[in-house]
């Protein structure tokens, strides 16, 4: 087989489809451990809550293409680089000419490495488990969500809105600690509390209690919270155990260049499984959906290029719409960055930017996300913002003109505003 792709998530599927577009002569095989390819993970909270039907999750259906083969329900056990082959769990061996690794992440399961776990404990990550959760929730209405990051917050909000009684547990003292500062997180907390969610901030899961093989309650910083369901959303680690003896891992990380090439020139990797290491020695883990899609496509383009091209943007901004509260995360707060903020907490709006010198290095917009695209553009371009940076913080959607150099602002000329390939 000419191109083999491991993993049919956001990165792997895009890699496969793009491979067919870029290299129409080459045959492509995609191997996915689970039974589903082409669904939208970010919609899983709504799906579990019963608000979105399963067929709505799928954004792609296979079309007739003799050179694209998709094999589901088969797991790769190991990679043998000297023979350029993969060992599958059904004992089959597959040879590849070029390989893209897109195995994504697996949920971290804290404290629960026990064998005899009661029923009712599920990680939030894949459609297969989401189906089980949805079935389970038909009979069980009290839920504890562990993890106040993006996935935990979304899961808690949608389930509460669907009529469940949700408690949300986060070990830091505020929600979305990797993305928001305390004051901006305060608005999110208020919103969730208004929906009726019980928040347990600065709390750790210590123990669980069961009754007849079913979860009964969870002990959180000394306090027992009743609930037959524990949903775990404390993040993920790369799904790279099968690469253990491949020689591609360094300190348990799958390192790739900005061109997404691994230590083996024939093997590329993309998505939530990779750590991108720049020539300056910086490491990036931009694990988000847009990045997975962009990386999957780039890996496919680079497969047969003599000089693979690098990824341009390494940021991991994110956006969330929690029914009534919009949140945009541009980048995480860092200790050395200055913070400027536009605080209208009383109206449910808090906008902040993190600056190093005159450059935007991160920020968050809560309650009013206008101007998000421009701020993100300024950030990824590393533009020095001249004049009063705070003007971008005021909620307003019409700010594009502020980015135009003054020479372009003369009225006398007719112009087409045209982006060229500025972000290519």
């Amino acid at each position: 087989m000419e191109c083999v792709i491991i993993g049919g998530g956001a990165a792997g599927l895009q890699a496969a489809l793009h491979c067919r577009r870029c290299w129409p002569e080459k045959s492509v095989l995609l191997i996915e451990a689970e039974g589903d390819v082409g669904y939208c993970n970010p919609l899983l909270p709504q799906f579990m809550a019963g608000q979105v039907e399963e067929e709505k999750l799928f954004f792609w259906q296979p079309a007739e293409d003799p050179l694209l083969q998709i094999r589901k329900g088969i797991k790769i056990r190991s990679l043998d680089r000297p023979t350029q082959s993969l060992n599958l769990d059904n004992q089959e061996k597959i040879r590849y000419e070029r390989l893209i690794l897109a195995p994504g992440g697996q949920p971290i399961l804290p404290l629960l490495r026990r064998e005899d776990l009661p029923e009712g404990i599920f990680p939030v990550r894949t459609l297969a488990t989401a189906r089980k959760i949805r079935d389970w929730l038909l009979k069980h209405k009290e839920i504890v969500v562990l993890g106040g990051g993006l996935v935990g917050v979304k899961t808690a909000a949608y389930l509460q809105l669907a009529g469940f009684a949700v408690s949300l547990v986060e070990k830091e003292d505020h929600l979305l600690p990797q993305a928001l500062t305390k004051p901006s997180a305060r608005l999110v907390e208020r919103h969730l509390q208004r929906l009726g969610i019980r928040l347990f901030l600065g709390c750790l899961l210590e123990d669980i209690q069961e009754e007849k093989g079913i979860l009964k309650s969870a002990k959180v910083s000394g306090q027992w919270i009743p609930g037959e369901t524990l949903l775990i959303a404390v993040g993920s680690t790369p799904n790279i155990d099968f690469l253990e003896n491949s020689g591609l891992l360094q300190d348990k990380e799958l390192l790739v260049s900005p061109a997404l090439q691994t230590a083996d020139a024939n093997i590329f990797a993309a998505g939530d499984a990779v750590t991108i290491s720049t020539s300056g020695g910086e490491k990036h883990k931009p694990w988000t959906w847009p990045q997975a899609v962009t990386q999957g496509k780039l890996a496919a383009e680079n497969l047969f290029r003599s000089v693979p091209l690098p990824l341009n943007v390494l940021t991991r901004p994110n956006s969330m719409n929690l029914q009534g509260l919009s949140i945009v995360i541009l980048g995480a707060p860092t200790p050395d960055a200055a913070i400027i903020s536009h605080d209208r907490t009383a109206e449910g709006i808090y906008r902040e930017l993190f600056l190093r010198g005159r450059k935007i290095v991160g920020g968050a917009l809560v309650g009013d996300i206008s101007g998000a695209g421009l701020l993100h553009f300024l950030m990824i371009n590393g533009s020095e913002v001249d004049g009063d940076v705070a003007r971008f913080l005021k909620p307003q959607s019409r700010v594009f003109y502020q980015l135009l150099p003054s020479s372009k602002r003369q009225r006398r000329r007719a112009r087409i505003l045209f982006p060229k390939e500025m972000l290519s």
């Binding site: 847009p290 899609v293 919009s326 695209g373 993100h376 003369q410 007719a414 982006p419 060229k420 972000l423």
Partner: protein, 178 residues
């Protein structure tokens, strides 16, 4: 592909284009009077930007390398194979607003009341875009993008002027990178 060009010298910032975009493309009633009574209030797909010195209507550029396309979480944003335009399939949109964060021009707008992202589709199925038809100053014009694409970057501005025939009023390409 045809895109909407703007004659900066003609735009007076009257926002007629915005108004009629909302009425024609966002309302059920299709008349100003009926549209104004609808809830949610119809929204335009373009916005007039600017300040006291200069104004111009800004709408989706249908970028050749459109960052919004890769960002969409649910494949709601697509490039139409026939027209090459970037479109939102509104029925697929999950209102996550991720695309609004990736469009550097800020021309995808959340429409929370209707639960989808709103952007200009250049009225592709109509003979002319509404904004262009209604502009009292004829500040908008449909231009063939390929004509510009064939010209190497540096010379684009010059040739653009010649194309339009009038030195100071020629069509010029503008991007943020310069």
């Amino acid at each position: 592909m045809k895109v909407i060009g703007v004659h900066l010298d003609r735009c007076t910032g009257c926002k007629t284009c915005e108004l009629y975009c909302a009425v024609e493309r966002g309302s059920n009633g299709k008349t100003l009077l009926k549209a104004a009574q609808e809830t949610p209030l119809p929204q335009p797909r373009l916005r007039v930007e600017g300040n006291n010195e200069f104004t111009f209507p800004l709408q989706c550029r249908h970028c050749l390398q459109a960052p919004c396309l890769n960002a969409c979480l649910n494949a709601a944003l697509v490039r139409d194979p026939e027209t090459n335009l970037v479109l939102v399939r509104e029925e697929r949109c999950i209102a996550c607003w991720t695309c609004t964060l990736f469009c550097p021009f800020g021309v995808i707008f959340p429409w929370p009341e209707r639960k989808f992202a709103l952007k200009c589709d250049r009225c592709a199925f109509m003979e002319n875009p509404v904004c262009l038809e209604v502009c009292p100053c004829q500040a908008l014009e449909l231009v063939e993008l390929e004509d510009f694409e064939k010209i190497p970057g540096q010379r684009r501005a010059e040739v653009g002027k010649t194309l339009a025939g009038k030195k100071e009023k020629g069509l010029l390409l503008l991007d943020l990178g310069e």
